[in-house]
Amino acid sequence: MRYSGLRVLWEGLTGNKGWQPAWREPEPKKSYDVIVIGGGGHGLATAYYLSNKFGITNVAVLEKGWLGSGNIGRNTTIIRSNYLLPGNEPFYELSMKLWEGLEQDFNYNAMVSQRGVLNLCHTDAQRDAFARRGNSMRLSGADSELLDQDGVRALYPFLDFDNARFPIKGGLLQKRGGSARHDGVAWGYARGADLRGVDIIQNCEVTGFHIENGVCKGVETTKGAISAKKIAVCVAGSSGRVMAQAGMRLPIESHVLQAFVSEGLKPIIPGVITFGAGHFYISQSDKGGLVFGGDIDGYNSYAQRGNLPVVEDVCESGMALMPMIGRARLLRMWGGVMDMSMDGSPFIDKTHIDGLYFNGGWCYGGFKATPASGYCYAHLLAKDEPHPVATEMRLDRFKRGHMIDEKGAGAQPNLH
């Protein structure tokens, strides 16, 4: 069934009785060409691109919970391609280009909204770093603008320009950045993959891998054994736990990141703003809630909930930046588990076990990467060679000394 305004009109006139399920709820077959483990955003995107762009349709997505219950169900929905390093920027720019045509491509309104992402700077050194980054973006074909204080003021007059502990000196603006409706992205990919015959199997947890002589031949699940030519792990947040079943240790730690949403308010913050003198980012959803977040809690955790110090820290930064949000009430806070990698950058790679592939380490920037991650992973699975924009996202890069460390924080995951 194709979604359109006309269809909504017709269904409205006929009592909304004709809507079909957005996806099937199949039982798993005995074997597939590709099994994608993880029905979060990246897993669903991988299945979508495998089936829609690379012609591989005999695919199952195994999800231990409900469809989209990965971190795509819990994030602050920001999309952007404002990266510094050559290992990252072309990848994120590909993602941005995929976002730009996504809804027409998968026939689902994911509310991709290019409202602009503004990173603020508060020191000369930060401005220098922004200039370097903005130029990197330009060299990779992305858009970027360097604003001075007046430029920032013209966009966001409500920021604290006059009494700030760390004065706003300017900012790096990416106008094509913005936000998208996170659940809609998961559902759009799921529906698009399902239409091509991909089996999305919910409530099906992988409990082990079938590995013989260094070749991965299938998985053991709560719904029985399933074999496949290629097994694609895509479970950021649980990467350590899942890959341990294949005997692998990873350059990843699991950390909890909290995010926050306020009560619904009439529009007041048009775009996405990030603070440069504290960890804080904010935007306002189409429903009116202020969606914001900050730093990870900082300790290893799989608990999917955080503690108060970070809540306070985030709100302090928010109030330091825009004291007009003080009387808005924080409605809900939640915690998701992040794959924090050793250099803050992700992995899309084969493993040393034939037939076993790995996608993870997205830290807390996975949402914006969803389209490119799915596309590049599908490329790798289909062609057994990395997509040209993902050639550096290798598992062995630390051994070789080729880190993709945007922040220069080193091998300590909680600093990225």
Binding site: L9, E103, A131
Partner: protein, 982 residues
């Protein structure tokens, strides 16, 4: 206007009338009213519009669970959107306005949405607004955004102040209803330190809203006597207006106390206080919340929860209607009928979905057992109900009871799941409670008074006993177990009209059914697709009903269907409260050096350097541009002498028999053989081989070293060294002390530096070039006996010293130095001049030491000794860090000397297009060199050291510039280093 719906009774203070304004109307209420009770007293029932369909809505509840009656409270910068009228305490002069309409509340243009409801079913927006592509951001989304949200922020800075505090207790009792009061009393009598927190301004919970008897007297009297005993106990702290909003790890609870929200103005006091409560045990006595039943048009103003209707009558002396019907599936709903009837309110009908005999006799009311309501009538308020038996009964208020759901929220904040209890048809706390928490009373599913009192006492005693205290069960007051039987009934399926589940977000039973049909079957998917339970009330009255309708549609039981996760906060908390006083200039602490006051006297322009403020430059009268000041400071320093406050550099005292060996391990270059009285430049790597920091370390005596770090890394380097000392080499005899704040330190640089210092260094210390050569150090005295440390080191490339004195002499020393320097025209110089001079000398600083670069990149690869074990040495050998075409730090100057270089420009070979493939590096730091008379820069470029003399392009597309630059040695000034040794 008179309060025409006010009836007798209640605990409002009729001797204290209060005036207030709602939507421009001047009204009156009494002290003890909420805004909601006062509006109802004035017969105002239509108070807002729903989110999506803009349906007229009234007051639905009498508590924090309110989905409908949200108002804009206060005015101007104090404006507070989405405030629940049901918990807003009335004060004299209160100003409130309804929200979410275009036009007026009565004539809302957006109400047209309701007519289009068939096209606005659950998730409709995911299926349309996609064509043409460009229309989403330009046409569709702006329209959607404009209609989004409910209340409005003022856009002005929040003028109130907020405080934060910490509280510690043995036992935290959450909720001061019957169970909480008994728990606190029992625990309090045991001697435990108890905090009893309640969100209401009148403790007592449902006791305030009911006509219960305790010990043969009225319940309010009993409440008062318990409160008075609790107040008399020094170990009990009673906190009214305090909502415990979240349960965190290890017995930490978050609570919000509303200190002045019940007053016209905060009057300089904190408006609210955010408490972190550290408890050993917690007893949750949070009560229960009533829920509705889904039937046609169950959302009109006048449709209320039955418990709320009787709360308004009993607590506030307000009749929510003149002619009231009750629709219930349980015995509790009947109490509303009997209580209201007793107060003389006419009861038109009681409709009970259960068949059998009526549980009570209600004079004058039509009793319909085994019946239901299929529809309601009325435009801006209910006027009649239509029963399943076809009769229509005129009413102006409908009290609905679908049963009570225990407030399990805090039990689930650590991801515990509640269990389903068939007896009360509700979720009750599960087994995985937060550590240290127990639950009592209605929150645990004990929905009768006698059970609440009993359970509360038991839980209080148990908590005290757990802590080793002797707690005797207090006498349990006498009360009856009132009737509370329920037969679950959720949804009147024969209703033709839309049956609301989530009132605020306009989610109806049909939306739930549609979502299920479309495959959004998990509760989480249902919630997200329909937005059920995602409004400001977080579905407190709606969630279980929504689950029930989903279960019904799926043919499953409710526990099989599951539940979504409860997350903090229990009720919304202002962002400003979480921030407390950490805003504006107080966002973070400010660190000032001992010389700060002196610098301020000189008119210094300060700049943030981490937490520190440092003098950036020192403008002289007549200087109009910062460059004028900085150029002058550089030239004066290079010509004669300049003084710079370098106190902010990290200083670490390293002592012990193994201090030298220890430094040899943390620095990449050797330190074991550094002679006493000498300073050495040290390069510190992270274990991954990247440069962590650099600085100098002086050996004051055999076992005593003093290290300096960069300002930015002072804390991190110290932490790292403590890690090395405690965790890696615990057997070494070495001790570290951070001395950053213990010493004030100044750089004295320039050809006349020695002459200047000789004027203040006490004469017994010879600092001549022979006695105190470059890289010498020593402990001396200045100004007649003041202890000091002197280091002959130079960042500026001049003959230079750094002199350190205990912080208390810092102010005196800078004044003495400047006085001594007067004859040499000594200038103070700031961080800008410092930076210019270090770029002239090619010294790396923060922009180069950015954590992404190696010693090799910096041209210091050979400093990494391979003859010893040091942090980072092994991993610095990885192949990709040692590529032939690796980066190298070099200098740059514009081919056209009049051009300015820009930091952040990327290097592109001449004739190549600026693209990622042709990107060879970037400019890290630039300055105008007044010494050389043109712009200079440092930067990293591939194979840089082999390319001196080459011309390339510094491309700066973000600023629309592109200039040719020449690659040169980074040592722009005095490359042989003669001046430092002079």
């Amino acid at each position: 206007m008179s309060q025409r719906m006010r009836i007798n009774g209640g605990i409002v203070d009729r001797s204290k009338p209060l005036s207030f304004e709602f939507d421009g109307k001047q009204l009156q209420g009494f002290a003890g009213d909420t805004l909601a009770s006062a509006l109802l007293a004035n017969d105002i029932r239509f108070v807002g519009r729903s989110f999506k369909y803009h349906r007229p809505r009234g007051i639905f509840t009498a508590g924090p669970e309110e989905p409908n009656a949200l108002v804009q409270l206060r005015r101007g910068p104090y404006q507070e959107p989405n405030t629940r009228a049901t918990v807003a305490e009335l004060y004299d002069g209160l100003h409130a306005a309804s929200q979410n309409y275009r036009g007026s509340l009565n004539f809302d243009l957006m109400a047209v949405n309701d007519l289009f409801a068939p096209f606005l079913s659950a998730g409709f927006y995911y299926k349309t607004f996609m064509w043409p592509q460009a229309f989403w951001e330009k046409v569709y989304e702006p329209a959607i955004r404009a209609s989004a949200g409910l209340g409005r922020l003022s856009g002005k800075d929040d003028p109130d102040i907020y405080d934060k505090g910490f509280l510690h207790c043995d036992i935290l009792v959450i909720g001061a209803g019957p169970a909480g009061l008994m728990a606190a009393l029992t625990a309090g009598r045991s001697g435990a330190r108890v905090i009893l927190a309640d969100e209401d301004f009148a403790p007592g919970g449902r006791l305030n809203a009911e006509t219960h008897e305790i010990n043969g007297g009225d319940a309010q009297g009993w409440t008062a006597s318990v409160l008075s005993e609790l107040k008399s106990l020094p170990n009990v702290r009673l906190m009214k207006r305090t909502t415990v909003y979240g349960a965190y790890d290890h017995g930490v609870y978050g609570a919000l106390e509303k200190s002045t929200d019940h007053l016209p103005m905060s009057g300089g006091k904190p408006r609210q206080i955010l408490w972190r409560i550290y408890s050993k045990r917690a007893v949750l006595c949070a009560g229960a919340t009533e829920r509705s039943i889904a039937f046609g048009n169950n959302d009109r103003p006048g449709v209320m929860l039955a418990g709320a209707v009787r709360a308004y009558a009993n607590r506030w002396g307000v009749a929510p209607g003149r002619n009231v019907a009750i629709f219930t599936n349980n015995d509790d709903g009947w109490r509303t009928a009997t209580d209201l009837a007793a107060k003389g309110v006419s009861i038109a009908a009681v409709i009970d979905t259960r068949s059998g005999a009526a549980p009570a006799d209600v004079a004058g009311a039509t009793i319909a057992m085994g019946a239901s309501i299929v529809d309601t009538k009325g435009r801006k308020g209910i006027s009649a109900v239509t029963l399943s038996n076809g009769t229509t009964v005129p009413v102006d208020c409908l009290a609905v009871s679908g049963g009570w759901s225990p407030n399990v929220h805090l039990t689930c904040h650590q991801r515990g799941r509640p269990d389903w209890a068939d007896e009360i048809a509700a979720f009750v706390p599960g087994k995985d409670l937060p550590v240290g928490m127990s639950v009592a009373g209605a929150a645990k599913g004990a929905l009768t008074l006698a059970a609440c009192l009993q359970e509360g006492a038991k839980a209080g005693a148990q908590a005290a006993q757990d802590l080793g205290l002797t707690a005797s069960m207090a006498e349990i007051p006498e009360a009856s177990d009132e009737a509370s039987a329920i037969t679950p009934f959720w949804h009147v399926t024969e209703s033709k009209g839309r049956a609301w589940i989530d009132l605020q977000n306009d989610v109806t039973a049909k939306d739930v059914q549609l979502a299920k049909r479309e495959g959004y079957r998990s509760v989480e998917l249902l919630k997200r697709y329909t937005t059920l339970g995602m409004a400001t009330d977080q579905g407190k009255t709606a969630n279980v009903l929504g689950l029930a309708v989903l279960a019904e549609a799926s043919g499953k039981s409710i526990p099989e269907t599951g539940t979504t996760i409860f997350r903090p906060p229990y009720t919304p908390v202002p962002i400003a409260a979480f921030a407390g006083r950490s805003r504006g200039k107080d966002f973070r602490p400010t660190r000032l050096t001992p010389g700060h006051e002196w610098a301020a006297e000189q008119g210094a322009v300060f700049v943030e350097a981490g937490m520190w403020l440092r003098g950036q430059w020192f403008p002289k009268p007549g200087e109009t541009h910062w460059r004028e000041s900085v150029d002058r400071e550089v030239l004066a320093t290079r010509k004669s002498v300049g003084i710079c406050d370098v106190t902010t550099l990290g200083k670490i005292d390293v002592q012990g028999r193994d201090a030298a060996e220890f430094l040899n391990k943390v620095y990449a270059n050797g330190f074991a053989k550094l002679p006493v009285g000498k300073v050495r430049y040290g390069l510190m790597l992270r274990e991954d081989g990247m440069v962590m920091d650099d600085g100098t370390t002086a050996r004051l005596s055999e076992n005593h070293f003093v290290m300096t770090t960069t300002t930015a890394n002072a804390v991190g380097v110290f932490r790292h060294m403590e890690f090395c000392r405690q965790c890696l080499w615990p057997d070494l005899d070495v001790h570290l002390i951070s001395a950053t704040e213990q010493f004030a330190q100044y750089a004295v640089a320039g050809p006349n530096a020695r002459k200047l210092l000789q004027k203040i260094v006490d004469p017994e210390f010879d600092i001549s070039n022979d006695a105190f050569p470059f890289m010498g150090c020593g402990e001396i005295t200045v100004c007649g006996g003041t202890p000091a440390r002197l280091f002959r080191i130079s960042f500026s490339g001049e003959l230079a010293y750094e002199i350190a004195v205990p912080s208390r002499y810092g102010d005196g020393l800078i004044r003495a130095l400047m006085a001594a320097g007067e004859e040499f025209d000594a200038v103070p110089y700031g961080t800008e001049a410092l930076s210019v001079m270090r770029i002239e000398k090619g010294h790396p600083a923060g922009n180069e030491l950015n954590g992404q670069t190696t010693a090799r990149d910096m041209g210091m690869g050979r400093m990494v000794s391979k003859k010893k074990d040091s942090i980072g040495s092994i991993l610095s050998e990885r192949p990709e860090l040692n590529r032939e075409d690796g980066l190298a730090l070099v200098g740059f100057r514009p081919v056209d000397r009049a051009r300015q270089l820009k930091s952040g420009a990327h290097f592109i070979p001449k004739g190549k297009t600026p693209s990622l493939e042709n990107d060879e590096g970037w400019m890290t730091s630039v300055a105008y060199s007044p010494t050389l008379g043109h712009s200079i820069g440092l930067g990293f470029i591939k194979r840089g050291s082999d390319r001196l003399g080459e011309t390339i392009v510094a491309a700066d597309p973000i600023r629309g510039e592109s200039i040719e630059v020449e690659i040169v040695s980074p040592h722009f000034f005095d490359p042989e280093g003669e001046r430092v040794r002079a």
